[in-house]
Symmetry: C2
């Protein structure tokens, strides 16, 4: 099965305490579609300006991403600039220029309209609605979001929750959206608002997946010694998860979601090993399988 | 096999945003010995004043804790008073009165001197050294510590590390003691200072166990909706782990340590469900087995 990925495609300037890089490939859809492409065919929906380097388009193409839904228009590509502190969990946005992304209201190519798995990567809820409106009979819809949308587009985000199967957000955002400090209670409230499943990302502490009352999964974080650039880790997680579900096919059951969350975590753990999508460019299926097994080992213990 | 537990025995005044209780049974040895007693015989080393209520002594006795090493002397029992904020991870010590504990330099009863598993619960490193000096051929020595000792007795703590097999501390303390922000690097430095294994507690995010280069275990936290009193969770964790290792017997291998860390986490998860040791008073072996299985379910996923 295929995955439809809609989100931002950006050129990022990123600064960490140790390195600084500019005009790097970024954006939620870039990370999401490349991550998903390790598992299944991907239909990309996005927009870039004429300044968008050919090499990035070629990279998407090499990953077998369908680019029928990628608009290249006059003007400048969306730009984001951010800086990380020594605690790489803390990020400061230095500047944002939406550019061609500002008035993006895509029309889905006909061959995209029945994509069974939909990943609404982190973008404005309005745009997530607009794309979802055009998908017929989606089997499983995943939406990622962030604090910005909780702050400035809360109502549209809440409306979206009723239309999706899985919501992905981080722990602070889950608390912010529900006014609950307990993540258990927050996840229950979020599920009451629509999605059957909620994945709460906890950065270096892994991820919690919540389903029906007795469905709960705690995925550890991979113990990385050096994280070079946390940018896109969440988008990569969402893309890997969506891609895995598409590959797994048919019904999405909790056991498949558990494996999907691990695959998303595997890809995110690779993503942060280098700036931008650089590490994903050289990643192989064998490396994914190897780290998946490492995740299994680091969380296993015997029946007693 | 038996466990020797040395640490503080206290009467605690504890305030949370929702409740306040005074003169509750507390202290690292109280939590540690009761937790260990669910798995193996325990030899307790500690001191209390004549004001120490008989009911607490009776409780230890009912748990089959050997009290030959418990000194009851004229004067007042060690008292601690603390307050938790809405984020129950943040605690403020309001007052400490060492009382009879101040000059405690125990002489081990002869029958304690060959206890194979030793738990040096959270107390001053000097006292931990003093007790360890008197144990002949210990098979496995576990030491718990806290930021206070890193601040005021760092050198003695560092000397202790060379004498123990497993160090238990929380993430902030691991970083403080090593000046490393990465827990992987911090654990490696700590292991270079002596202990073969390091367990890093992360509160609501579970626990990481580090051994030799390829020995790593990530234990999730049990998803509790309501935590009533976090006091003693770390001491209970250490006690459950030590007790399990004693029950498991013979050689302490990494697979046994994994299970021990889960058992410690199971007991700690029950401990925080009520104030003081109240929940441990009614805890049963069946409940421990049930939650152990829950821990297994919440962290398992299939081979893929």
């Amino acid at each position: 099965m295929s995955v439809l990925v809609v989100g931002s495609i950006a050129l990022d300037d990123i600064k960490t305490p140790l390195e600084e890089h500019s005009e790097m490939l970024g954006g939620s859809a870039s990370y999401g579609c490349v991550a998903a492409s390790f598992y299944s065919p991907v239909n990309l929906v996005g927009i870039v300006g004429e300044d968008f380097p050919d090499e990035h388009v070629d990279f998407f193409r090499r990953r077998n991403v369908d680019l029928t839904g990628l608009k290249i228009v006059p003007g400048k590509t969306f730009r984001w600039s951010g800086e990380y502190m020594w605690d790489l969990n803390i990020r400061e946005t230095r500047s944002v220029a939406l550019n061609v992304f500002e008035h993006f209201t895509p029309t889905l190519p006909p061959q995209y309209q029945e994509t069974p798995i939909v990943l609404l990567a982190n973008i404005a809820p309005d745009l997530q609605h607009h794309v979802l409106d055009q998908v017929r009979f989606p089997r499983f819809v995943i939406a990622d979001t962030m604090d910005l949308w909780i702050n400035i587009a809360r109502q549209r985000l809440v409306e979206l929750l009723a239309r999706i199967h899985l919501l992905i957000l981080n722990d602070g955002e889950a608390r912010q959206l529900t006014s609950e400090t307990s993540l258990i209670k927050a996840a229950r409230k979020l599920r009451d608002m629509g999605p059957q499943y909620v994945a709460v990302k906890k950065g270096e502490h892994g991820c919690l997946l919540f389903g029906a009352e007795n469905q709960f999964f705690s995925c550890p974080a991979y113990p990385l010694e050096d994280i070079h650039d946390p940018t896109g880790a969440g988008d990569t997680f969402a893309g890997g998860l969506a891609g895995y579900l598409a590959k797994n096919g048919a019904e999405v059951e909790f056991s498949a979601l558990r494996r999907g969350v691990v695959h998303g975590s595997v890809l995110a753990s690779y993503c942060v090993e280098a700036f931008s999508l650089e590490r994903l460019k050289t990643l192989t299926a064998d490396q994914i399988a190897c780290r998946y097994e490492m995740f299994r080992r680091l969380s296993q213990f015997d029946v007693e």
